[in-house]
């Protein structure tokens, strides 16, 4: 019953949302160049279904690869910063400063450095935009481990590594998954930034751009909705992994 509810309730809220959206456009009698309504979207999808498949896949795999790499980068930096106070104090200002730079301004820089290597450019932007929450949450989780947790193992002569993988790492997993959820949604921003700003002709960002050029508003909206759906899909994969690896922390 709970399982069905977990599916039915979000679906129901999605339908209500679309109905309200449709109603809003219909009530104001907006033309679709002002605001497309859900009923305009399906024809747009259908008309470009081939492109949606190709570009959607391009955007999707690059986002996922970028996300996986940002997990690796975020984890490694987070672990270093969690265990060494010196590294933590040393790296924080750099990381915060770096994160404060709007990534849209980094896009041309990256694109210039790796000219023509579109996949790599996109993945780098994804990493740059997504690793930060993971890195911060892991380093905070590790550095705030209560002393007693370490003491029970240290008093038995355990080494740092044993404390890390028996206690510190599993204990930080809930925070890690919290951060990963944020990073997942950020990752799509990363992919699309590159795809929209740099004209490589790849990905949903490019499709959005061509919709803009040809003033095809339903197409633009359809791209946005596709991105939202992909984001939701990836988010639920993370939730699924969270249930497996950190299910103990979730209140039933």
């Amino acid at each position: 019953m709970i399982r069905i509810n977990n599916f039915i309730i979000p679906l129901f809220s999605l339908i209500i949302f679309c109905l309200l959206w449709e109603l809003l456009v219909w009530y104001n009698n907006w033309p679709n160049y002002k605001m497309a309504s859900p009923s305009d979207l399906w024809p747009a999808f259908w008309k470009f279904k081939h492109l949606f498949l190709i570009y959607g896949w391009e955007t999707f795999w690059r986002t996922v690869v970028g996300l996986i790499l940002s997990v690796l980068v975020g984890l490694s930096l987070g672990i270093l910063m969690g265990f060494s106070k010196t590294i933590r104090i040393g790296l924080y200002p750099i990381l915060v400063g770096f994160n404060a730079i709007p990534k849209a301004t980094v896009v041309p820089v990256i694109a210039l450095i790796f000219v023509g290597m579109h996949n790599m450019n996109t993945i780098i932007i994804v990493i740059l935009i997504s690793f930060f929450p993971i890195c911060v949450s892991i380093s905070i989780g590790l550095s705030t481990l209560e002393r007693e947790y370490e003491d029970i193992l240290l008093s038995l002569g355990a080494n740092k590594f044993e404390i890390f993988y028996k206690i510190a790492l599993p204990k930080t997993l809930p925070e890690f998954f919290g951060a990963l959820k944020v990073s997942t949604t950020l990752a799509f921003i990363g992919t699309n930034l590159m795809e929209i700003i740099e004209p490589h002709g790849k990905g949903l960002g490019h499709l959005f751009d061509s919709g803009k050029i040809s003033a095809d508003y339903p197409l633009m909206f359809a791209v946005l909705i596709t991105l939202a759906v992909m984001g939701i899909f990836l988010y639920y994969i993370v939730v699924y992994l969270e249930n497996i690896f950190a299910g103990w922390a979730i209140r039933k």
Partner: protein, 257 residues
């Protein structure tokens, strides 16, 4: 395993400079003894547990377990704290076997489990083997924590206020669990506590520390009865003892002011 603390002084580095917590503390705990250490808050009681377990080294003086000087953590020590610090992602049995994973790496899982189950029966939680800590009450968590501190058959058990956060009746239940464990298992025990009744009920020796920097102020045997019962705590003999200890604590507190 007798424990000798010889002329131990210890100080911590703080922002305000060095903070001396122990000063020339000497005491001895006999083999299989049960010693309770009481004293005003912040007088350095927990420091003693960290020193005896080898987690920190004293600034001056030495500590000996069976005439062997402690310089680093020993696998023959078990510890339990006020916070049961159970690993929330492991079920009860896997929490208990944690020390064995460090100390007896060659032991098979089944052996580890049977060691743990034996203790779990002693504390009356055998049917909670597969529960997660979040499904247990505070008293049950503390029982599990006690099992974990004993699973590797340590020769010294260090208890740092393990019952302090429990309600009065749960506390008394756990005192009796402690009696049972002490009877079944062979270990020397150091108990840090703020509760004088607990000290008198559980320990055969009670030590009062002076205010910071702490040194030995009062040392008394509490063998008022072979088999201690909760009702003994209301006898005149024990009341007398409790009054003496209370008085000693007051003296220690005044020194602090």
């Amino acid at each position: 395993m007798h424990i000798n603390i010889e002329k131990v002084s210890h100080q911590y580095e703080t922002k305000q400079g060095m903070l001396p917590v122990l000063k020339d503390l000497s005491l001895s705990i006999k083999r299989k003894g049960f010693t309770a250490i009481v004293g005003p808050s912040g007088c350095g009681k927990s420091t003693i547990t960290r020193l005896v377990s080898g987690l920190i080294k004293p600034t001056k003086g030495s500590i000996f377990i069976s005439n062997k000087k402690i310089t680093s953590p020993l696998s023959t020590v078990g510890m339990a704290f006020q916070n049961p610090v159970l690993l929330e992602w492991r079920n009860v049995i896997k929490n208990i076997i944690l020390p064995l994973e460090i100390v007896s790496k060659n032991m098979t899982y089944n052996q580890k489990r049977s060691n743990a189950l034996e203790l779990l029966k002693l504390v009356g939680l055998e049917e909670f083997e597969n529960n997660l800590p979040s499904e247990l009450s505070g008293g049950m968590k503390q029982r599990v924590s006690l099992c974990r501190s004993l699973v590797h058959s340590p020769e010294v058990l260090i208890l740092d206020e393990p019952f302090a956060a429990l309600d009065a009746f749960t506390k008394e239940d756990l005192w009796d669990v402690m009696h049972k464990l002490k009877k079944e298992r062979d270990f020397t025990c150091i108990l840090i506590t703020h509760d004088l009744r607990e000290a008198v009920y559980l320990a055969d020796q009670v030590i009062v520390l002076s205010g910071r920097p702490a040194s030995l102020q009062y040392d008394v045997k509490t063998n008022f009865n072979e088999e201690k019962k909760i009702s003994d705590l209301y006898s005149s003999e024990v009341s007398q003892l409790l009054a003496t200890l209370r008085n000693q604590i007051e003296i220690a507190q005044n020194k602090n002011d």
